[in-house]
């Protein structure tokens, strides 16, 4: 289960995730982002309530990062230490801006 909550503030989009970002739920997030990223200059992914991320979730983050590299910036906030470790072993810590 993944809950996706979006808040727009001018050209900033905050997407708060709650639950699990896995093979089952990653396509939902991918679709949400595809529909919402036009004209967004800053994308903030709030991971405060995210419990789990697998490679399927990382793929969505990577493609969002690629889009945002072209049109602005992306940051990930409130990353738990368990998810931080996933970012570390996959080199995602170097790609993402973790605030």
């Amino acid at each position: 289960m993944l809950n996706i909550e979006k808040r727009t503030n001018g050209s900033e989009l905050v997407v708060a995730l709650e639950g699990r970002l896995d093979t089952i739920t990653a396509p939902d997030l991918e679709k949400e982002l595809q529909e919402s990223l036009d004209d967004v200059k800053l994308l903030t992914l709030d991971f405060e309530k995210l419990e789990y991320i697998s490679s399927a979730g990382l793929r969505v983050l990577l493609s969002a990062q690629k889009v945002m590299n072209r049109q602005g910036a992306m940051k990930v906030t409130h990353v738990s230490s368990a998810i931080r470790e996933i970012f570390d072993v996959t080199g995602f810590s170097d790609i993402l801006t973790i605030a």
Partner: protein
């Protein structure tokens, strides 16, 4: 008075035999033809039988030798009238006892043959039952021996089996203690085969019904609340159509040359595996808890060996060396085990002797203390087989998580294991059987020293070693990074060990992580 038939009845003497028989039959209360001395009967003789039967429809024939029986069977007479075979008489005096079960004792009568002598003198129906269930088990793929003859042994009956060069596992354990691990391994392999066998509905008795009977009996022998709880616990055990042996101890497993055979099939039933574990506990530990001599007399090995065998077998069956998990399942098995033993002892009038009362008091005490802390008699098996499709990922994750939680796995390790499980299962779902579908088996094993978990995935799909894939370069900037290969790479990084092999037509991938 029985009417005796003798010699040959054919066209030469049919007329005079008929005259004689009709005269005797007219005076008899019930017509019973004793064929002990009858050597041969031709069609002329068969016509004589038909005419007697016309006069006395209740007529039956007993003590028919096998040649005459074959004639009566071929001509359909055995279906028309009651025909009882003559049983070969076999003596078991001085024969070696090689097995013993709830309903009978097995003796070796010569080099190649054994006879199972039934305790109940009215055993013909039991023998018939055992032959039928043994046949059913054999057809369903369980290696067993089927009796080929029924014989008379003293006042009782026996069935004869061919069993060449066979030794029971009890004998192996008694004489070669260093083979204990091997015996446990084979014993559990057979047990898993039995428990994975689905039985068509109605073919075997339901063990739950039997156990409900025990629990009802116990209502008069336990404090009211405990009795009610016991009954509710048994009622809550889900119905299960998988096979149970019902009396699975080491005297009922035979090594014949290199083949392991299951014998003593009359207790075969269907039900939840906890019933089997209960009867295993009783055989190896329960019955001997107070008098350690019981197991020595029955199995030929000592109490310590029995207990060690039980614990190793349970550990191997559950795929865990986690002491808490073992105790938990053992406790459930003991609830049913004590219930069964107490009822059995009371029915055998054990309350009339001092030793009997002591034993029942001991078992009752153990049962009551278990009932205080146990809230379900079911347990989680450590293997899950299901269709390898992404939709089943959640079920796999829930199955693994339940085992991890039982082992007090920290949340971070739980997530990492979850990630690895997802990668492997999704991989199998996407590629192993593509474009068709097939099943995968997931097995979870917990070890205590060091505390670690091993998760094994098995599938029968195309041979494929995911570990052979080159690791992605994780130092590239986002725009140059490819998304492929990340899952397996993460799995390798997050686990302490990942191993792949292709064996017996299966991809076998094992993840290990220290907790």
């Amino acid at each position: 008075m029985n009417i005796r038939l003798s010699g040959r009845i054919d066209s030469n003497n049919a007329a005079s035999v008929e005259e004689d028989l009709l005269r005797q039959a007219a005076n008899a209360d019930a017509v019973v033809l004793d064929a002990q001395d009858l050597e041969y009967i031709s069609s002329a003789g068969l016509r004589v039988l038909l005419r007697i039967r016309k006069m006395r429809p209740e007529m039956k024939i007993i003590n028919v030798n096998s040649e005459v029986y074959e004639i009566l069977d071929m001509t359909g007479f055995t279906e028309m009238m009651e025909v009882q075979k003559a049983y070969r008489v076999v003596s078991v005096e001085g024969c070696e006892e090689i097995g013993r079960g709830a309903n009978g004792t097995i003796y070796r009568i010569d080099k190649d043959n054994v006879v199972k002598v039934y305790n109940n003198p009215e055993a013909l129906a039991d023998i018939q039952h055992e032959r039928e269930v043994a046949k059913l088990a054999l057809i369903l793929g369980i290696p067993t021996a089927i009796s080929y003859d029924v014989v008379k042994v003293g006042d009782s009956y026996g069935s004869v089996f061919e069993l060449l060069n066979a030794r029971s596992f009890s004998k192996i354990l008694a004489r070669e203690p260093d083979k204990l691990d091997w015996c446990v391994q084979e014993y559990i392999k057979m047990l898993k085969l039995i428990h994975s066998t689905l039985v068509p509905a109605g073919k075997l008795p339901d063990m739950k019904e039997t156990a409900l009977g025990w629990a009802r009996f116990m209502q008069d022998h336990l404090p009211e609340a405990a009795g009610k709880k016991l009954l509710a616990l048994v009622e809550a055990i889900p119905h299960d159509d998988h096979m149970l042996h019902g009396d699975y101890h080491t005297k009922n497993l035979e090594l014949q040359n290199d083949e392991v055979l299951l014998i003593d099939m009359d207790t075969l039933a269907v039900g939840h595996p906890i019933f089997e574990l209960a009867s295993m506990y009783n055989s190896f530990v329960g019955y001997s808890e107070l008098d350690h001599g019981v197991i020595q007399r029955f199995q030929g090995f000592d109490f310590e060996t029995g207990r060690r065998f039980w614990r190793r077998a349970l550990s191997s069956y559950l795929g865990t060396r986690n002491e808490r998990k073992l105790r938990e399942v053992e406790g459930k098995a003991r609830v049913l085990g004590y219930t069964r033993m107490i009822r059995r002892s009371i029915r055998r009038r054990a309350l009339e002797t001092e030793e009997g009362r002591a034993e029942i008091a001991h078992w009752t005490g153990e049962l009551l203390s278990l009932l205080e802390r146990i809230d379900t008699l079911t347990f989680q098996p450590n293997e899950l087989e299901l269709e390898a499709v992404p939709e089943n990922l959640e079920e796999v994750q829930a199955f693994v998580e339940e085992h991890l939680e039982a082992a007090d796995c920290p949340p971070k390790a739980q997530m990492q294991i979850g990630v690895a499980v997802e990668e492997i299962f999704v991989n199998i779902s996407s590629y192993a059987y593509h474009p068709e579908n097939g099943n995968a088996t997931v097995r979870v094993e917990i070890s205590d020293d060091p505390v670690s978990v091993a998760i094994t995935f098995l599938d029968h799909g195309t041979p494929y070693d995911p570990l052979a894939k080159k690791d992605p370069d994780i130092h590239l900037p986002a725009d140059e990074r490819d998304i492929g290969g990340l899952g397996i790479f993460m799995t390798k990084k997050l686990m302490d060990d990942v191993a792949y092999e292709y064996r017996d037509g299966q991809n076998i991938l094992t993840l290990r992580k220290n907790l």
